[in-house]
């Protein structure tokens, strides 16, 4: 199976992105349009400013009762004539989908945008079996034609200019070149309409599920997910196991916040509730519905009190739209279907801490993501926790210490700070020693050896010959 993660290239890809002027413009644009607008939408909710905290409590309560919610959801869907499959990992999820496709003699598939299917590498697996897979979200369709990966959770082709899309369509769809978004959208509309009408199977993700009523819900503005879940005779939905709430009331609040967080909307254009296949004597709709509920490492997050909070996430991508790091390096650098702050936490937890270590070290801990999160997830706390586990090493996550010298240096520093006399003595001798190496006035411009990285893009102030404590003591008290 293809590995969906290429997180090792984080630093190289970031550097590449920063020097890409067109990408910088596109990222600045998406952040300027969606970032502030999202905040306005939150505060316009009838529940008032506290709604994000309220939603956090709802999600926390749902996650703490996840076993019950999943059972209730599965019972209802099964009772409605649907099939529910529980997949422990990516491989099981994919083979389940392949088995369904085989059973129904599926040759062509249309897909709604779904990050969890990217996570399990579904498209490649279907294509390997000779099934024709068409992504139908316009952005996702563009990157599928271009042979690329999504760079934003809800706007996957945000890194492409209209001219690039025009050239791509001229080349792949054989239309006359145009850079007009309306004409390009119309061209894709015509091609994809035929695909929708011909497809044997539709595959979607799941934005949220309601356990009490037994429905999964999907949202789109284009209507492609409705097409995908209405026209083919078989509908398969992929769902990360945490995407469930208990009641309709919970669902109402979270879906409003999802719409606000994702696109600064009151409500997404099309919201579909799917609880099973329709009876045979209904005029249309799929005759088979399969729900694949995926763990793939999520129960490990559930079991770790420090990372359980991550399962509250509803993948709206609001944190991408405010993150100063995402705003510079874009989505591809993260090497994961999940980019931005959410990606920096969730990717290490899915792909392995050491493998994705650069992601959590790359974020700034500025806290903008927490402020933008519709369910008030403390991403900075989890980033710090990941850094801690990576520094110390961690058995449950099979993490080995990132840098032994750094760990030694930090442990030494910790010892000195808790022994004041030794600390003062060390500072005193260091301030005398530095005078021998750095004779010049002003800050230190280049540290030696392994410390040089610190001064590559900043200077370091010299240690004062008189420590702050003694300056403070001799300071004149205002009378």
């Amino acid at each position: 199976m293809d590995d969906p993660f290429t997180t090792e290239k984080y630093t190289a890809k970031s550097r590449q992105a920063i020097s890409d002027k067109r990408l910088q413009g596109a990222l600045a644009d998406v952040q300027a349009r969606l970032g502030p607008a999202t905040q306005t939408m939150y505060s316009a909710q009838p529940e008032g400013a506290g709604i994000r905290q309220q939603a956090h409590e709802i999600r926390q309560r749902c996650i703490e009762n996840l076993d019950i919610l999943l059972e209730a959801l599965a019972d209802k869907v099964t009772g409605n004539g649907g099939q529910v499959f529980f997949a422990n990992d990516a491989e099981e999820a994919v083979s389940c989908c392949l088995a369904v496709a085989k059973k129904h003699g599926v040759k062509t598939v249309v897909k709604g945008k779904s990050m969890v299917t990217e996570e399990v590498g579904l498209n490649q697996a279907l294509e390997a079996e000779g099934v024709d897979v068409a992504e139908t979200d316009l952005g996702e369709y563009i990157i599928q034609l271009a042979g690329e990966k999504p760079s934003h959770i809800i706007a996957p082709a945000i890194h492409k200019t209209r001219e690039q899309v025009g050239q791509l369509f001229a080349e792949k769809l054989g239309i006359d070149y145009t850079a007009d978004p309306a004409a390009l959208t119309q061209a894709a509309r015509a091609v994809l309409r035929e695909k929708f009408l011909a497809a044997d199977m539709g595959i979607t993700g799941c934005n949220l599920a309601c356990a009490q009523t037994g429905h999964i819900t999907t949202v789109s503005n284009e209507g492609n997910i409705r097409m995908t879940s209405t026209l083919p005779r078989v509908h398969v939905a992929f769902m990360g196991m945490e995407r469930v709430v208990a009641t309709l009331k919970d669902h109402d609040i979270l879906f409003r916040l999802l719409s606000s967080g994702a696109a600064a909307q009151k409500l997404g254009g099309y919201v579909s509730y799917v609880g099973g296949p329709g009876p045979e004597d209904y005029p249309d709709g799929p005759v088979a519905f399969h729900l694949i509920i995926i763990d793939n490492g999520r129960s490990r997050m559930l079991a770790d009190p420090a990372f359980r909070e991550m399962l509250c996430c509803i993948r709206c991508s609001a944190c991408l739209n405010v993150c100063p790091v995402y705003g510079k390096i874009g989505g591809h650098a993260y090497g994961s279907p999940y980019s931005g702050p959410v990606g920096a936490v969730v990717t290490p937890l899915l792909a392995g801490l050491n493998r994705a270590q650069d992601l959590c070290f790359g974020e700034t801990l500025c806290g903008a993501c927490k402020q933008a999160c519709p369910v008030d997830i403390d991403l900075p706390r989890m980033l710090r926790e990941l850094r801690f586990r990576l520094a110390e090493g961690d058995e449950t996550w099979s993490a080995t210490p990132v840098s032994k010298p750094e760990k030694f240096a930090m442990d030494t520093f910790a010892w000195f700070t808790s022994h004041p006399a030794a600390y003062r003595a060390a500072l005193f001798s260091a301030s005398r020693m530095q005078a021998l190496v750095y004779a010049k006035e002003g800050p230190i411009r280049q540290l030696p050896g392994p410390l040089a990285g610190w001064t590559r893009s900043r200077t370091l102030r010299k240690i004062s010959s008189r420590p702050f404590r003694s300056q403070w003591k001799s300071r004149k008290q205002p009378s």
Binding site: R33, T185, F196, L267, G269, P283, D284, I293, S299
Partner: protein, 256 residues
């Protein structure tokens, strides 16, 4: 079929939650409350006892919200006027795919009352429905309905509810009411009555919650909320209407 791991899957989730979570039945009772809250009861009462003047206020609110979403809301006096308005639209609009104009509509009492078949007779426009005869060949009927839906340039539906604050129509899936009618044709027209308008989503969910346990109007196997025509901003964040679904959407609100 490959093996399903439900029991072990749920068990692992339970184990991951830790030893202190408490018995499942106690937690189940707590997370799925039996009785609806007093707030919901009050909301329901407000919906049921709404005065005509308040309904007009909601209609005005719906029209305000619909504008920016490119959703056209037109109040009409009665079903006959709704039918005339639809006839005018049919005359005005050209089909997006192919030359011939035809319509597809739900089989629904409100739409039956419009008598579109007669109103459109002088334009020679065929009006198909999604009515099913459960005694006849189901496959064949579904096939024909699909062909008619794909061939139609306009789809006409009713709705269960309409939410003013978000300019949303709510449609549960009922027999004889095709889902694709509001999706595949280039123009979607929904006909509703003024008493179907609710204030906001909170009110809607109170109503849905109240109905969820009654078999005849429970949530059914499928329900959709539609707030305006299909749209996308996937190319340089430029808004374009008509990505996959209808390019145009109209709601006619019957006042009487």
């Amino acid at each position: 079929m490959i093996q399903n791991h439900r029991a072990s899957f749920i068990n692992r989730v339970r184990q991951s939650l830790g030893p202190d979570i408490g018995p499942a039945d106690v937690r189940r009772a707590r997370i799925f409350p039996e009785t609806s809250e007093k707030v919901s009861q009050n909301l329901l009462q407000a919906v049921q006892s709404r005065a005509p003047k308040e309904r007009e206020t909601l209609l005005a609110m719906l029209m305000d919200q619909a504008g920016p979403l490119h959703l056209h809301v037109t109040p009409v006096a009665d079903p006959a006027e709704a039918a005339q308005q639809i006839a005018a639209l049919v005359r005005q609009k050209n089909p997006e795919w192919g030359e011939k104009k035809s319509l597809i509509r739900w089989s629904h009492p409100l739409l039956d009352a419009l008598d579109l078949e007669s109103v459109l007779a002088d334009q020679h426009i065929p009006v198909h429905t999604t009515a099913m005869d459960s005694q006849a060949d189901l496959q064949g009927q579904r096939q024909l309905i699909r062909e008619n839906t794909v061939a139609s340039f306009m789809g006409i539906t009713a709705a269960d509810y309409c939410v003013a604050d978000t300019a949303t129509i709510v449609m549960k899936t009922h027999p004889h009411q095709g889902r694709a009618v509001s999706l595949v044709p280039s123009v979607h027209v929904a006909v509703i009555t003024i008493d179907q308008i609710l204030t906001n989503l909170t009110e809607l969910y109170a109503v849905l919650d109240d109905e969820k346990n009654t078999p005849e109007n429970g949530l059914t196997h499928h329900m959709v909320f539609i707030s305006g025509p299909s749209k996308t901003a996937d190319i340089e964040l430029t808004m374009v209407h008509g990505a996959h679904g209808p390019k145009e959407m109209h709601i006619f609100v019957i006042r009487a």
